[in-house]
Structures are given as structure tokens and as C-alpha cells.
């Protein structure tokens, strides 16, 4: 079950709706650990002083803002907390607009907005009113020392909130040289008609399920294969007393004997896994000819 990552309330006008936020997206990145190839040991991060290399204990670390090279203003967590309007803990709705007014470039991270038990009714009321009016709410709220702009919108009977970037964080397209050069380019009607025809021929309804992160699938598959094929990239160093060392032939003998007996018990064992056709093709019953040939050789 997902865990709420923030609790507070949605506030607009005189209405205050206690809610919790849940992540609406769980990223499925494959995360790796760092391993020392020489020993197979996990690599541990250590904070060290840039001056003398000695380890710095966690409680000795403060945030420093670089004013100019080697000049910092240090800020303690307490000082930041004092600025953090923790007490408000509200998502303040400032206006209602049409969803189509927001360019997707503004959207950042999506959260589900869930009502606490006592607030189910006003939550539903807000959601249905927005749904029927076809509006989304623009709100501000503070989470973990950052003030966010957010859009709250109805989706399948629930409210979904997307944090948004601020207008001054969006890089103007004109800053990209190739894009500012596009102004003077003209296209003919005939070219446009052909391009439109191509767009039309590929037009369809968006089905997000059709798309998968195939790179991630491949990474996971690679991991599975390696894990199944006993080629673990590295094995952690074995404790000194792990497994007693035995003689090679002694180790193999029992397994080889067992395999041979298993074949005698099930001489057509291959049929069990559906490979009989291939095996039958490769194994005509003409052994006597070979024996004869061997003697003549």
C-alpha cells in the first residue's frame, strides 16, 4: 500500500478540506549498487573533508551557499525551518482555469489528493463542481522548504495535483538558436498537404499501455539471465569457513551418476519438454553401422 508523503488541507474561500498526498507515479528505474570488482564488496560512501581527506561526521555538516569561490554563507537546518511556513500546511487555491490553458511543459510531478475520513463530503463536492465546470484549480503550497505552484484537477472521481514549474524556470524557445532561425522558413501548400496526410495516416487514440520502457525491460532481463546463469557479476567475499573444499572427481561423480541413472529410468526424457521432434530427427536408429565402421577404422 502506498504511503502518504504529505498531509495538510486544501483551502479556498472559507472551505478547508483536510487531505493527504500520495505519489501518483512510481518511477521504475533499475537501481544498481556499487561493487568493488577486486573483492566483490559493496562500496560505501563516506563524506570526507576536501582539505585533509578526514571523515566528516554527519552532525558536523551544515549547508553552505557559495558567494564567491571559497566564501560561503552557512545556513543551519533550524534557520531554514524558521522560514518554512510549516504552520500553513495548506494548498491554497488561488484561481480556477481551463486545463487546456496550461502548456504541458509546466507540469512536473503528479500526486493523488486523498481526503481524510471526516472530509469526504467537501472533497467530493469540490471534485464534482470542478468536473462539471470543466475547471482545474491553480494553487500554491509549501512542501519541504520549497514553495510550489500546482494544478489540482478532477480525474475519474478523484483529485490529482501536479506540481508545476514557474514561468521563469521555463527556458524561452528563442534561447535555442536553431528555433529562433525558423522564422524565415516557408513551406509550400503542396508540401504541407503531404505532411498533413502523413500525420493523418498515423493518427490514432493515445493508448499509454502500448508503450513500454524497453530499455528497462532489457536491463531487467539481463539481470535475470545473469542471476539464473550463476554468472553473478561478482560474489561477495565468502566467509573463510564457507563450504569445504573437495576433490573435483568426487564432486562430479555423484552428480554424473545420478544424471545417467535418471536417463536410464526415463530414456525418453526429452519428450517431456517437447523436444522429441528435434531429438528424433537428430537420432536415427543406425548405431550398428557406426560400430562396424569403428572397427574398420
Amino acid at each position: 500500500m502506498p504511503r502518504a508523503i504529505w498531509s495538510g488541507s486544501i483551502s479556498f474561500g472559507l472551505v478547508n478540506i483536510p487531505i493527504k498526498l500520495y505519489n501518483a507515479v512510481s518511477r521504475k528505474n533499475v537501481s544498481f549498487h556499487q561493487i568493488d570488482t577486486r573483492s566483490g564488496s559493496r562500496v560505501k560512501m563516506q563524506r570526507v573533508s576536501a582539505t585533509d581527506g578526514s571523515e566528516v561526521p554527519y552532525d558536523a555538516i551544515v549547508k553552505g551557499y557559495e558567494l564567491s569561490p571559497d566564501r560561503y554563507v552557512t545556513i543551519s537546518p533550524e534557520e531554514l525551518d524558521a522560514l518554512d511556513p510549516e504552520a500553513t500546511r495548506t494548498i491554497d487555491i488561488e484561481e480556477f482555469i481551463s486545463l487546456s490553458d496550461i502548456d504541458p511543459v509546466f507540469f512536473d510531478t503528479a500526486y493523488y489528493v486523498a481526503p481524510v475520513k471526516a472530509a469526504v463530503k467537501p472533497y467530493k463536492l469540490l471534485e464534482e463542481a470542478m468536473e462539471q465546470e470543466g475547471k482545474v484549480a491553480i494553487a500554491r503550497f509549501v512542501m519541504r522548504t520549497k514553495q510550489y505552484l500546482a494544478a489540482v484537477r478532477p480525474k475519474n472521481g478523484a483529485l490529482v495535483m501536479s506540481t508545476m514549474v514557474y514561468a521563469d524556470e521555463v527556458v524561452p524557445a528563442e534561447d535555442v538558436p536553431e528555433l529562433s532561425d525558423l522564422d524565415g522558413v516557408t513551406v509550400s501548400d503542396r508540401e504541407l498537404a503531404m505532411a498533413k496526410q502523413l500525420v493523418e495516416s498515423l493518427s490514432t487514440d493515445f493508448e499509454p499501455e502500448k508503450f513500454r520502457d524497453t530499455y528497462r525491460d532489457q536491463v531487467l532481463e539481463l539481470i535475470d539471465r545473469k542471476a539464473a546463469g550463476e554468472e553473478t557479476v561478482l560474489e561477495a567475499p565468502a566467509p573463510a569457513d564457507e563450504g569445504k573444499v573437495v576433490d573435483l572427481m568426487a564432486a562430479l561423480e555423484a552428480s554424473v551418476k545420478e544424471a545417467r541413472e535418471a536417463r536410464k529410468r526415463h530414456p525418453t526424457g526429452a519428450e517431456e519438454d517437447g523436444a522429441e521432434a528435434e531429438v528424433a530427427e537428430a537420432k536415427p536408429k543406425k548405431k550398428p553401422a557406426k560400430r562396424a565402421a569403428k572397427k574398420s577404422a
Binding site: T37, G40, R225, A228, G229, E230, E231, T232, V233, L234, E235, E242, G243, K244, V245, V246, D247, L248, M249, A251, L252, S255, V256, E258, A259, R260, A262, R263, H266, G269, A270, D273, A275, E278, V279, A282, K283, P284, K286, K287, A289, K290, A292, A293, K294, S296, A297
Partner: protein
């Protein structure tokens, strides 16, 4: 996991009871085969670049071609560093029983080797004619072509040796062991011979790769004579429905196979190959020792 001591090296063997072939042949049997064939196969492996073809989930599972020696190799497995136009590759140096069994434990069923030694990667020590049948042609048809090829080589005063590929075909090797030599010359020689054979027996063999030309004929593949290619090593297991081995055979056996028109005559599985070694010794030894000069053609 079983830890074994092999010649003073400690090696972890895992999943010994895992069935790697549909006939029920297990990983323990693969390792057992390579352990017993080691004295015979090692001279053919120990100083050459090896491409490993691994089947961690058995011959019906996914396969991996590997050239670079993995970083997680035991510290007693050495590498050959071979630098070419396509970069640098560190090949595993498989020159001992423990190194060979380390590969066997990784389910490296097939070991493919270069025509040259790793220390001198541009100097092939032998020429290979890889006879590859196009259905419905089979190993028997390869025997016929191999005997013609032997005859042609013989008329040039050259001796050659034959081994099954362990899969569908047959391979004829022409030992040289006399430097200096280049792939340009070995490829040119084998190509010319393949073309001569194709002219003499246009209904039986072809000298070009194209699949559609091969139907019912035997491809005399000369292109394996390349710095970039490896060919299955003698005594290597193959990933076939049965644990068949690329097996050196006598010319009498090649004739017997053709006479009987039965591929089984020279199709050998791992345990039979060990019996053959006990009986014949290493039939493949001449490829390492016989010194012959490649004639200039045309």
C-alpha cells in the same frame, strides 16, 4: 555450490544437476567431459583467442557469444590482449585444467578458436575449409566433398585432416605451422580451391555464402580464414539436441560414412569421444605439428 580444489586452484562449481541438453545431459556431465578431455583439448586452446558460446539455461535457452574475458574471472585466469582495428579484446587464456573447468562451470559449452595464435594474431597456422550442407544435403554429402578436397590438396602435395563440426557439417584443416603467413594468403588459397571445386562439381558444392544457392549442396566456406573469425575447436561440445562433439575423424571413417550414407557413422557424443581418444590418441595433433608450405596458386 561445491568448492573443489583442482591442481591447487580453488573453484566453485554450481548447479551441477542442471540439465543442459534435452537428452538429460547435465552440467556435471559437461564439466566431467571437459575435465577428462582436458589433456587432449588444451594444446588446441591454450595459445589461441577463444570465443565462448555460453548457454546458462541449457542448449534450448538463450545463448551468449563472449570474447572479452569477464572482469570477475579468478585471479589465476590470465588473458591475451589482442589489439586490432576493431579495438582491444582481452581473451581468456585457457591453458590449464582449472581454467577450462571455470569456463565449463559458466556453461561455456562451445569454444571457438582463431586460426592464429594469440601472440601473433595476423599469422594463421592453418587453413580451414568449413563444409556446411544446405538441406536436404547433410553430413554424408560433406564427406563426399571433403574426400574430393583431400584429393585436390593431395595433388598439390598437401596433407589435411578432417573433423566433424559436431553440428551439421564437416571441417577440413590444412596444417601450415610455417611462418611467415597471412590471412590474405590463406583466404585467397582456400577461396581459389573452393571455386575450383565448385567448377568441377557445380551440382554438389558452392563457394559463395548465399543461402539460396546452397539448397541440396555443400558450401565450401573459405571465409573462416579471417582474423575476425573463429571456428569451433576440436573436442568442443556443441549446443545441439544431443551433447555432440566436434570430433576429429580418420579419412577411413569419412569414407565409411559416405559408403554407409549414414551421418551417424561419424556423429559422436561426449562419452564416445573420450573412448575414441583412448583408442586413437589425439587425431588432431597434426594440425599443430605438421609443417607444410602453402603453394602459390595461379
Amino acid at each position: 555450490v561445491t568448492v573443489v580444489d583442482i591442481d591447487g586452484r580453488s573453484l566453485k562449481l554450481s548447479n551441477l544437476d542442471k540439465v543442459l541438453y534435452p537428452t538429460g545431459f547435465t552440467k556435471a556431465e559437461v564439466i566431467d567431459y571437459y575435465a577428462k578431455v582436458a589433456p587432449t583439448i588444451l594444446p588446441h586452446l591454450s595459445d589461441r583467442a577463444i570465443t565462448r558460446r555460453r548457454f546458462p539455461n541449457g542448449v534450448e535457452g538463450q545463448t551468449f557469444y563472449e570474447k572479452n574475458c569477464p572482469k570477475h574471472r579468478p585471479d589465476w585466469v590470465d588473458v591475451f590482449r589482442v589489439t586490432g582495428e576493431d579495438g582491444t579484446i582481452d581473451f581468456c587464456k585457457i591453458d590449464s585444467l582449472p581454467a577450462l573447468l571455470w569456463l565449463a562451470n559458466l556453461a561455456a559449452l562451445e569454444l571457438h578458436t582463431s586460426m592464429a595464435r594469440a601472440v601473433d594474431p595476423d599469422t594463421p597456422t592453418m587453413v580451414v575449409f568449413d563444409l556446411d550442407p544446405g538441406l536436404p544435403a547433410d553430413l554424408v554429402d560433406c564427406c563426399e566433398v571433403a574426400l574430393w578436397l583431400r584429393h585436390v590438396l593431395g595433388s598439390l602435395g598437401l596433407e589435411c585432416a578432417a573433423k566433424t563440426s559436431g553440428s551439421k557439417g564437416l571441417q577440413v584443416y590444412l596444417p601450415l605451422n610455417t611462418g611467415p603467413m597471412t590471412y590474405e594468403r590463406t583466404a585467397g588459397f582456400s577461396r581459389t580451391l573452393a571455386q575450383v571445386m565448385e567448377q568441377q562439381h557445380p551440382d554438389r558444392c558452392v563457394s559463395v555464402q548465399r543461402k539460396e544457392l546452397r539448397v541440396g549442396k555443400v558450401l565450401i566456406d573459405w571465409s573462416q580464414n579471417s582474423r575476425h573469425k573463429t571456428t569451433v575447436c576440436a573436442y568442443s561440445l556443441r549446443a545441439r539436441p544431443r551433447p555432440t562433439v566436434s570430433t576429429p575423424v580418420t579419412w577411413d571413417e569419412v569414407e565409411a560414412c559416405l559408403d554407409a550414407r549414414d551421418a551417424e557413422v561419424i556423429t559422436f557424443e561426449a562419452p564416445e569421444v573420450l573412448d575414441r581418444i583412448a583408442e586413437h590418441g589425439d587425431l588432431w595433433l597434426p594440425t599443430l605439428t605438421l609443417e607444410q608450405h602453402l603453394p602459390e596458386l595461379g
